[in-house]
Amino acid sequence: MGELAAKKHVQYILSVEKRKDDLVSVVMEHLRMNGAYWGLTTLDLLGKLDNVDVDKVVSWVMECQHESGGFGGNIGHDPHILYTLSAVQILALFDKLNVLDVDKVTNYIAGLQNEDGSFSGDMWGEVDTRFSYISLCCLSILRRLNKINAEKAVNYIVSCKNLDGGFGSTPGGESHAGQIFCCVGALALTGSLHHIDKDLLGWWLCERQVKSGGLNGRPEKLPDVCYSWWVLSSLIMIDRVHWINKEKLVQYILDCQDTENGGISDRPDDAVDVYHTYFGVAGLSLLEYPGLKAIDPAYALPVDVVNRIFFGK
């Protein structure tokens, strides 16, 4: 069995961060906040976060904050809840949550809750269970879950549950592993996992493992490394991860590495990117691969970071 090319992945992430002049980084400009979260969390899981200039990152993150309290994907961009969670997670990684005006950020998030308990992504009102998870995760990290109607938030998520035990983006939407992570995560963060039929959902999730060992996100779809995170973290949260074949999944993720130049791709021999590098390493962390820090399946942050937030350790 091959091994994790940890050093190469660190080099790859650091090179992406420095590269501002090529086409990929220009097209990614508007979601740089997400990219920074993926890259920095990967470095932390690999034990190499100290290669980063903390003050530079933190001041850039804070420059992306909008007067409304939300964060944009880059300096001068409009705020969106997607980038707000990444910003909060990055600050948490560096133990810098104290630079935030917590009420300002959490008021922005609380203002996005709708009458039916769902959340919008920004002022334009797109609704999706992704935004429910993001809101609850942000508020939980900042310890302000009391600012929203959590019961309604939970009820909305439960209304998105399907006959196969999974969840979709809105009521009636097809079950999808990414949306399932969001819904299970949101229910875990609010202590509401009893709403899930764990055996039914667990079986659906472990049916996602295909012959190559990789996981897909819906029936009859191709496997993709990102589902190592969405499916695995969900299985862990509902305590059913032992139902899949872990060895085969580890092998699949390792097969998706670029062992020469670093980085991980969606499928073997495809081009690597930061997104899949993060999900590959995070998946291996959930699988307790040696040499990696443990990651928390609900907060998507290293366990020591989560412990520091909640227990001051």
């Binding site: 508007h30 880059n74 409009d78 399907n162 006959l163 196969d164 009636g172 029936p219 009859e220 032992h242």
Partner: protein, 333 residues
Amino acid sequence: MDSDEGNAQRVPLSQRPDWSDVTPVPQDDGPNPVVPIAYKEDFVETMNYFRAVYLADERSPRALWLTAEAIRLNAGNYTVWHFRRLILEALDGDLHDELGFTENIAKSNSKNYQIWHHRRWVAEKLGTDATSKELEFTKKILTLDAKNYHAWSHRQWVLQALGGWDDELQYCWQLLEEDIFNNSAWNQRYFVITTSPLLVGLEAMRDSEVSYSVEAIVAHPENESPWRYLRGLYKGDIESWVKNPQVSSVCLKVLSAKNNSSIFALSTLLDLLCHGFQPSQELRDVVEALKASGPNDQPDPDLAKTVCCILEGVDPMRANYWKWRKSKLMSLL
């Protein structure tokens, strides 16, 4: 408005008289060395001019044109879409044209969240005028990718907010004719029979839906979707599910035929047994014949246990799940 489309030679904005009064604003994240890629130069220049009109809050026809340029170069930038909506509102722009614009962009970016969100914003403003256009539009996208999650979400929203349910069950049928493994179409079918105001609800539809899914199962017993659909038809009424002879007989039929994938038939049978179903001798014999050790062994009186053992063998990837199911049987006793 979009005169540049298809032109081989693009005139840089900096050389156009109608833009001479605007000073472009570069992205504020450090030095941006110039790289000799033509596309990239267009992109950087367009975004620099976009930042200028955005910061000046210029809601003009040329700014609207510029957002179209910027979107064409990178449809993922949500700030550009956001500003485009503000301009459309300010100029009272033609929303039917706007549907045409998003359709063009969607052809090459059908998995982009911003496009779909923008599309819904336009359709919401147009109301029922947009119903048939939106159903046609999603149909077009689904012709290219029948499992496009955004297209399905949009379609469900259109049906619920604007109507147009009349042909939806027929449409599901058509997509399943094309690909019976399409889980999105099965999901839509369930959505229609449980939500459509034109139909009379799940229970009244049950008999015909059971026949439909049984037929699909017999044709492809390895297809996960109709098995789950069949079970879903009895949501909250497990007793009727256990009692319906069609459910156990489709299991028997699949398991009797040689060369069939037996995983879902066996797992359904296991669920039936766990809910008190009494198997016939014929079904017992068929299951016994599937045992790896051969039929010479003493048959186990506990059929459910036998089923679990067979599943461990035929589905090794999920062996732990089937072992757990078996251990749960013991604790039931």
